[in-house]
Amino acid sequence: MATKKTLAFLLMDAPYESARTTTAFRLIDAAVRRGHDVSVFSYEGAVALSFAKQAPHPNAVHGRDVAQEDHPNPKDWIGALAAQADRSGGKLTWINCGLCVDERGVGEVVPGVGRGSPVDFWKSAEAADNTLVIPTKG
C-alpha cells in the first residue's frame, strides 16, 4: 500500500436481505487488507449485522446438521474483519445507530462494536479521507 488512508462507510441494509451487504463486507475486507483505517456506521437495519445472538442453524431440508451447514453469521464476519485489520496494521471502528438498535431490540452486540448517533457518522466522515454511503434500494 502506497499511503495509509482512513475510509468511512455507511451501511443501511439488514443482514440476509441484500447483495449490498455482501458487497459492503467485501469492500471493507479489501480496505483493511490494504492496511487502511476503516470506520463503519451502521444505520437502520444494518445495526443487526453485529447482533450477538445470531445463531447458525441446521438445514433439515438438505439433512445437514449445524456443523455441516456451516451457516455464516455476519456478526462473525465483523470480528474477522477487525482481526484482519489488526494483522494488516490498520484499525476497524464499527458504530451502530443507537436509536436504530433500540427500535429493533438488537442491543447485545459482539465485542468491539460501539453505539452512537448519526453525529458519529458525520464525525467519521469529517475525519476520513473519503466516504462511501451504501444506501438501501429506494
Binding site: 458487497t23 469492500l27 479489501a30
Partner: protein, 109 residues
Amino acid sequence: MAGYLLIESRDPLESSDVASDFYDLAAGLARRGEPVTLFLVQNGVFPARRRAHAGVLDAVARAGVEVLADDFSLRERGIPSDRLDPHVTAAPLDVVIDRLAEGRKALWH
C-alpha cells in the same frame, strides 16, 4: 480535481433510472473533463455483456468514462470475461478501494 467514482449495482431492466440518470450522470461528468470511473457490481454487471441492452454503455464509454465490472459479480452470474462488451473491463472490487483512497468523489446507486 480527483474525479468521480460511480458505483452501479442495478440492472437497467430492473430500475428505469439506471440508464436515464446514473449513466447520463457519468457521461456528463466525463464530458466536463473529469476523470470518471463507472464501476458495475451485483446485477449492475448485466449490461456489460456484449450486445446486451442495445449497447447502452457505448455512449457512456464514448464520453470518456472508464467502465469496469466486478469480476466476482460476473462469475456469480456466469458471464465470462471474453463475452464482455469491448468498452467494459473486468476488475476486482479492490479498484473501488483504490479509487476511494485516491480521493474520488463516490456515489453508489
